[in-house]
Subunit: 167 residues, 2 copies
């Protein structure tokens, strides 16, 4: 369990969304945020099935993700989730990833711009990183797969992400 601080008003709003007596904050929030119970709660009642990467399952099914119809938006969202999942591992994966000339990820726009002729760097929201964006879909997928793999994320999870990638 984690503890977060929120303002009084927001607290009242959330409390007001209680569906049954004794419902806990996580349950209410999950309902409001439209994310599934792929984690703890489910394990309690169903066959215990390990879910090592709840964060990605949540993202993949969230409206934040599915509402985005362009490849580039989903690409950024995914990279952001990967960073937040484990900044240290992400950093390692990020620095070691590049093409023959272009740097794919960096902490500043400039080094991406200068590593190629038209890399079109994009900021990765909520992250100190930037990515190249002037690539086709196949390469964007490769970048995601490559990072996930370097971060030690399971093949199964990588496949799920891959499948969810196309709109």
């Amino acid at each position: 369990m984690k503890t977060i601080e929120i303002d009084e008003e927001l607290y009242q709003f959330i409390a007001g969304q209680t569906k049954h007596i004794g419902e806990d904050a996580s349950s209410i929030l999950r309902r409001l945020l439209n994310i599934n119970q792929s984690g703890l709660a489910k394990q309690r009642t169903s066959v215990k099935k390990e879910n090592h990467y709840p964060l990605f399952n949540d993202l993949l099914t969230s409206s934040t993700f599915t509402n985005e119809k362009s490849i580039i938006s989903r690409f950024i969202l995914l990279l952001s989730a990967l960073y937040n999942y484990n900044p240290a591992l992400f950093a390692i994966a990020a620095t070691s990833l590049h093409g023959s000339k272009r740097q794919y990820l960096a902490k500043d726009k400039l080094s991406l711009e200068t590593s190629g002729k038209n890399t079109k760097p994009r900021e990765i929201t909520g992250t100190p990183y930037w990515v190249i964006s002037n690539t086709n879909t196949a390469r964007k997928m490769y970048i995601i797969e490559s990072i996930m793999s370097d971060m030690g994320i399971s093949e199964t999870m990588i496949n799920q992400v891959t499948n969810a990638f196309l709109p």
Copy 2:
């Protein structure tokens, strides 16, 4: 400030939605939940002011709206809100609105297409209506203002919408 307990997984998910460094939990949650800061807290400190059109205030400050950077997206969102606020009044306002040749709103794409040479009709999400989209920003504003006015919505509210229109 209030403290709530949430499970680890949910915590990670929320943290992953951070938009800028140092953003606090309340801010992230408000964005995700689409609620603005204009509720109780504010009313407590300011003069209590009646809000006749909560629907619009909510929309204007929601992330759904502010995340949309293009005029056309905001335009559609607003029209959708107007329809849902009062379908009957919207219907009246919609049918009476047009230019010298073009029909601005209709229940079918075709009648908009045939009323001009390149009207580029767009569906109004969650609504049986379509709008013309091949117009400049000024005209889009005019369409919104005109409909709101016809629906009997206050000048004050119209001004608020107008102000929130540009990204």
